[in-house]
């Protein structure tokens, strides 16, 4: 850690008129915590008072003023995750890691913490390892998650604000799973659909990591042209409930669970997608 390096990170953000929170996030992503010196530099370069910066840094649980381990495991104890047994998951982590929440293992490898809602309540109990979301975690998975963390997952520094967690979808019409376990994308099973454009049909594989834009298309479709989405099992067309906020094309809705839809933009090349946790048509 050097002051010049911190100054560089901060000035990049100041130039782009980033908010204080974004600056602190960038610093924390680099050092895994907020060193005292960094807060002083942020205050100096943004022209704010140190008390105010310190107030922000201590307000959010995501920021740490103490050095953290190489990997961060966060277990959600928000309301939704709590009622689905988040507490038991947290206890299992604490007993396996032999540390309490907020502590780091003596070898400096893993910091364990509990948080209040990660914004992915439908997936609860939710665990996040270095930016990767594990949905519906059970106690028996805890050991494996710790092993994953130690093995090192590619760190998602949240630069684009994207949240990466795997989802499991099925056809809203026949309810058969759309997950393709043989063709993996981003290291997870892909979501298989059939798309049609201009009278021709082909396979489309989408990454099941929510937030990832990886896909495989086996049909020539010109950029920005909307296609139709079909189920590979029942061949019914996927329903459309809303239009894409990015480009205005219809979104194809895939079924996650009762009342909960994953909607993807049908336009070729458009990154638009959303998780609709309150889709009455999916009930």
């Amino acid at each position: 850690m050097s002051s010049e390096e911190i100054e560089k990170i901060v000035s990049d953000y100041v130039e782009r008129q980033g908010s204080i929170i974004a600056v602190l996030e960038a610093v924390q992503n680099r050092y895994r915590y907020l060193p005292e010196e960094a807060l002083r530099i942020v205050a100096r370069q943004t022209g704010r008072r140190l008390v105010d910066i310190y107030g922000v840094a201590t307000f959010y649980k995501a920021f740490s003023l103490k050095p953290r381990g190489k990997h961060l495991i966060s277990v959600c104890l928000g309301t939704a995750c709590h009622v689905r047994g988040g507490q038991a998951i947290a206890e299992e982590f604490m007993s396996q890691l032999q540390i309490k929440a907020g502590e780091t293992t003596p070898d400096g490898e893993i910091t364990f913490e509990t948080v209040n809602c990660l914004g992915a309540c439908a997936l609860g109990p939710t665990v996040v390892v270095d930016g990767h979301y594990y949905p519906h975690v059970t106690r028996s998975q805890v050991g494996g998650i710790i092993a994953d963390a130690l093995a090192g997952m590619e760190r998602d520094d949240g630069a684009a604000g994207a949240r990466l967690f795997p989802i499991h979808v099925s056809c809203p019409n026949c309810k058969r799973s759309l997950m393709d376990y043989d063709r993996r994308l981003d290291g997870h099973p892909s979501i298989a659909c059939v798309i049609a454009y201009d009278g021709r049909k082909g396979r489309l594989g989408l990454s099941s990591l929510y937030g990832s834009r990886a896909s495989e298309v086996e049909l020539e479709v010109p950029m920005n042209e909307p296609c139709r989405f079909y189920c590979p099992h029942c061949h019914e067309e996927m329903p459309h409930y809303s239009n894409c906020v990015e480009c205005g094309s219809p979104m194809a809705a895939l079924y996650i669970r009762r009342g909960c839809a994953y909607e993807v933009c049908t336009s070729r090349g458009c990154p638009g997608h959303l998780l609709n946790l309150d889709q009455p048509n999916m009930k």
């Binding site: 008072r49 140190l50 008390v51 910066i53 310190y54 107030g55 201590t58 307000f59």
Partner: protein, 224 residues
């Protein structure tokens, strides 16, 4: 000018006046704790509650932060207001029973008991010291840290702040820490000014003509 009625008395005041100021102008007393003239209203203590609007749609608001509105109907001592205010006093007593300021308010309102779990906090998070330090002393040495139950007041990193002027302004306005800032428990002190080890006027050139609130002050005694 904005016209409103307070306890049935019509009054017209300038736009931007708070309900508290308008009521005091008419002579209606409203107790306050986190409000001080010269500091931005903050609305932390809720002691200054008043009822606005007509029943059954009336509601309670903090008068120190509520700007007057045309046609507003305000009651400063309705049954609902008195009940709410007594509750606020009880809560203050529950967290900070040793504060002379709070005891005085309680006795003025005839509150002799409180029904909550007794605690002994040395801060009620009223923010007076923060505003004093920032707005009057132009120092910005102390502030709130953390959130929720863990919220507390002090300097960044809990070390003596390099921008603190040791003026004592924060202690002067604090309703709760008269007891704490005697520096006999250094780890509980906010800014350390109360230790008054180096009177600012004597040692710090640049603070020559600043306000100072330190009492008692060794240097003052010697100068006399």
């Amino acid at each position: 000018m904005i016209n409103l009625t307070i306890n049935g008395v019509p009054v017209s005041v300038e736009k931007g006046t708070t309900v508290l100021e308008a009521a005091r102008y008419l002579g209606f007393p409203i107790p306050t704790l986190c409000h001080k003239e010269g500091l931005t209203p903050y609305g932390a203590c809720r002691l200054c509650v008043v009822e606005i609007g007509r029943e059954p749609n009336s509601r309670l608001v903090s008068s120190c932060t509520y700007p007057v509105e045309e046609g507003l109907v305000v009651r400063t001592a309705s049954e609902r207001v008195v009940k709410a205010r007594r509750m606020v006093i009880e809560l203050l007593l529950a967290s900070c029973p040793q504060s002379k300021t709070i005891q005085d308010i309680a006795s003025r309102h005839n509150v002799r008991q409180q029904r909550f779990r007794q605690e002994h906090e040395d801060c009620i998070l009223c923010g007076l010291c923060v505003r004093m330090c920032e707005e009057q002393m132009m120092a910005g040495a102390i502030g709130f840290r953390g959130r929720g139950r863990g919220r507390s007041l002090g300097t960044p990193f809990d070390v003596q702040s390099e921008v603190c002027r040791l003026c004592g302004g924060c202690m002067e306005v604090c309703p709760a820490c008269q007891a704490r800032c005697t520096f006999n428990e250094p780890e509980k002190a906010i800014c350390g000014a109360c230790a008054n080890l180096s009177p600012p006027c004597v040692e710090k050139e640049q603070f020559h003509d600043m306000m100072c609130y330190l009492t008692p002050c060794v240097a003052c005694e010697i100068k006399k």
